[in-house]
Structures are given as structure tokens and as C-alpha cells.
Amino acid sequence: MNGFDTNVILEWAPLLFEGLLVTIAFTLGSLVLGLLIGLLVAVAGMSRHFLLRLAARAYVDAIRGTPLLLQLFILYYGLPAAGIKLTAPVAGILGLGINAGAYLAEIFRAGIEAVPRPHVQAARSLGMSSRQTLVRIQLPQAIALVLPPMANEMISLVKSTSLISTISIGELLRSGQIAVSITFAPLEIYLVVAALYLALNLLLSSLVRHLEMRTGSRGRSEANRTLQDVGV
């Protein structure tokens, strides 16, 4: 078992590939959930109603202030004691989504607040409701603005999926561990696993960059300056 054994890689490629697919599935599932939660919490955080603002604040603080791994343990190992039994995939998607949602909420909030106030006032002066203004004027500009920090969050989410290996989900890292435990070729296997994570993230960031180009430069310079002011 000396040197770099490429045969081991070929032999275990099917299992690693399977793990990769599971990682992709959990990333997508928790991303959709996280975006949804993030948007709702961001809007709640800017509500007129004090209790909604408080709830949004508490959510973001609680999630950001505790480790993701611990959150997964509570969902999967802790909740059954309270009579709520989640399957591993459900706990995994929920845990990752709830966690990403807190970070995405802060990103969305910064983006929405960076849309210049006068754009909002112009809409309101034309008789548009606050909801119409949010959906048609603020959100489209905000999302174009926050694509770069959102890409960061997505990449971090891809890597965070490795944590669900601890609640017995056979994602990419866990597939690697299984392969290593049998082949005793940690260098080969883990390097391949690393390459696969890297490939996935490179694909993701080029996708976001493409989106950035498409939403384009129109009117962004002004808004970007404002975004720097709020520290994003």
C-alpha cells in the first residue's frame, strides 16, 4: 500500500459518485428551504409589527449563535425525546435549511435596505402598495445586489452538507470514509472527495457569476455604493 494507488480510485468511484449525488440533492433541498426562510425572515424583520421583528431577530440570533452540528443533533437525536421523530433525510434538510435561512435572511435584509429609499417613495407616491413595492421594486434590485454574498452562502452550504454524515446520511464525505475504512487508502480517496467538493463549488460560483452578468451593470453602480455603506 505504498505510493499513490489510482486503481483504488477507479474501484471506489461508483460509491463516491453516489455520495456526490446525495450531497447535491441535500444542497438543493436545503437551499430552496433556506431561500424561502431567508426571504420570509428578512421581510418579517422589517415589519411594522414589533412581535414579528422580535421573532425574526431571535431566530437569526439563535441560529447564528449555535453550531450547525449541534442543531442537527438536536433535530435528529434530541427531538425524539419530545415525541417528534424525524427521519435522517428530513432532519438533514431541515437542519441545513433552517441554518442557511438565518444567514440568507441577513443578506436579503441588507440588500433590501440598500435599495435607495427614494425608489420606494417614487413607487408609493404612484399609489403602489407596500407589498407591490417590495415585490416589484425592492426585491429585484436587492437580489441583483446580493448575488455575491449569496454565492458565499451557497458554497458554505455545500460544505456544510458534510456534517450530515454524522446523522448517518451517506453523502460524499461519508462515502469517502467508508471507502477509506475498507481500502486503507486515505490520501487517494480524500483527495478525490476534495476534488469533487471543489468541482461542485466551482460550478456553483461560475453559475452565480453568469447570473451577475445577466442582471448586469444597469443601475447597479449606484446601489452598490449604498451596499458598501451597510457593510456587505
Partner: protein, 251 residues
């Protein structure tokens, strides 16, 4: 058309408006002038309910802006939908144009008519094109605002307000952010509107223009209206000492 009674506005312990009474009749063109910080823009913002008055009443065509009878002899704040309906009746044009950068010129104009007035898109587009023609920018209908000059953006902003077919137009220092060479094109559009009989209340630093288009000049200082007179009279024989001092400085 508009009737303002004892309007006051306070931000914290700063009194911006100290009791404004103002009447603007249909087809009237009224120019508010005065030193900066006198509360001119705040009056306009209250008339569109972008700022809620601290006290006093504003009536638009006889209907109280922002408040309604609560059925027990008192007044209560209107519901949002109702307030939006009132706002849609009063067009507002801002110093900084405030066009939406993610929408083309045409999209900027048809947005509110489709969303608020529920106009069919075809009809809204036809009206928008006619308005763009009127302000001389039909060729720019598919351009994004950032590619237009300040004067062009402001003309689009005026067209956007007009697309809602408002009863009147509030113009808040609409030429203050413009390069000197584009000011005239905007003033010409406003003048054409005045000739057509559009009711307008404008805050401006362009004394020559105020004299040219306004039927009446309102002079404000420190949150009060100190003088109200036809332009010929006001500019040649200002009555109030502070109006005199102001005119000496700006003319």
C-alpha cells in the same frame, strides 16, 4: 382642488412646518419659493402623505387626505388601500428623478398604471408611448435610466407621473439636480403642462421660471407662509422684509 389648513410637521423637537394654510384651485399653477430649510419640500411631501402631518388637515377635492370619519364624530387613519388610492390621484416628481434602474423607460411608466389602475398592458403601453412622444423621448423607450442624461430622466419621471392621470402634479425642485444645459428641456415640458391646464404646485429655485409659469407665488420662511401674491406683484413689490431680503440675494 387642494386645501391645506393649519398644517404642522415636527421631526423630534424640530418644528419644520408651523401652521400652513394654502388653497390651490383647479388649473392653478402655484410656485413655492423661499430659503432652504424653510419647509417647502416638506409641504409637498405631506400633500402626498410621504410624511404624515403632525397636525392640521389636507383636503384633496373635498376628501380628507390620510384620515376618514370613524362614524363616531372623530377621525381615524385611512386603511392602506384607501390611502394608496388617494396617493395615486396626486403625481409627484422628485429632485433626483427616482426612476427604477432595473426597468426600462417604458417599463418605468407602465408599472403603476398596470399594477394600481389595473390597465390592460396594451392600453398602458399606448398611453406611455403617447406621453413619451409628448416629452420628446419616444426613441428612448427601451433604454435603461442610467443611459439617459439628467434632463431626459426627469422628463421620463414626469411622464411616469402623468401616466397615472393624476388630478394634480407636485414638483419638488425638479431642476435642482440638472446640468444647466438640460434645465430648459424640463422647464419646457412643465410649461406645456401649465398651458394645457394641469394643476401644479411646484417648489423651485428658478425665479425666472416661477415668474413665467406660475399664477401665484407663495413665499415661505421658517415653516410659515409669509407672503402670497401674483408673480408680477411679488417680484416687483415684495411686502415682507424677509421676502425682500431673499429676492435681493437670489435675483
Amino acid at each position: 382642488m387642494i386645501s391645506v389648513r393649519k398644517l404642522t410637521k415636527r421631526f423630534g423637537d424640530q418644528e419644520i412646518l408651523r401652521g400652513i394654510d394654502l388653497e390651490v384651485a383647479e388649473r392653478d399653477v402655484v410656485a413655492i419659493i423661499g430659503p432652504s430649510g424653510s419647509g417647502k419640500s416638506t409641504v409637498l411631501r405631506c400633500l402626498n402623505f410621504l410624511e404624515a402631518p403632525t397636525s392640521g388637515e389636507i383636503f384633496i377635492a373635498g376628501e380628507r387626505l390620510g384620515y376618514e370619519d370613524d362614524g363616531r364624530g372623530g377621525q381615524r387613519r385611512r386603511r392602506e388601500a384607501d390611502l394608496n388610492r388617494q396617493r395615486a390621484e396626486i403625481g409627484m416628481v422628485f429632485q433626483q428623478f427616482n426612476l427604477w434602474p432595473h426597468r426600462t423607460v417604458l417599463e418605468n411608466i407602465i408599472e403603476a398604471p398596470i399594477l394600481v389602475r389595473r390597465q390592460p398592458p396594451d392600453a398602458a403601453i399606448a398611453i406611455a408611448r403617447a406621453l413619451l412622444e409628448k416629452v420628446g423621448l419616444l426613441a428612448k423607450q427601451d433604454a435603461y435610466p442610467s443611459t439617459l442624461s439628467g434632463g431626459q430622466q426627469q422628463r421620463v419621471a414626469i411622464a411616469r407621473s402623468l401616466a397615472m392621470q393624476p388630478r394634480m402634479l407636485l414638483l419638488d425642485e425638479v431642476t435642482s439636480a440638472l446640468d444647466p444645459e438640460t434645465i430648459r428641456e424640463v422647464l419646457d415640458v412643465i410649461k406645456a403642462l401649465a398651458v394645457e391646464g394641469m394643476t401644479m404646485l411646484l417648489v423651485t429655485h428658478e425665479m425666472a421660471f416661477a415668474r413665467e409659469v406660475a399664477h401665484r407665488i407663495v413665499f415661505m420662511d421658517e415653516g410659515r407662509i409669509l407672503e402670497e401674491a401674483p408673480p408680477a406683484e411679488f417680484f416687483s413689490r415684495p411686502q415682507h422684509a424677509r421676502a425682500k431680503a431673499f429676492l435681493d440675494k437670489v435675483l
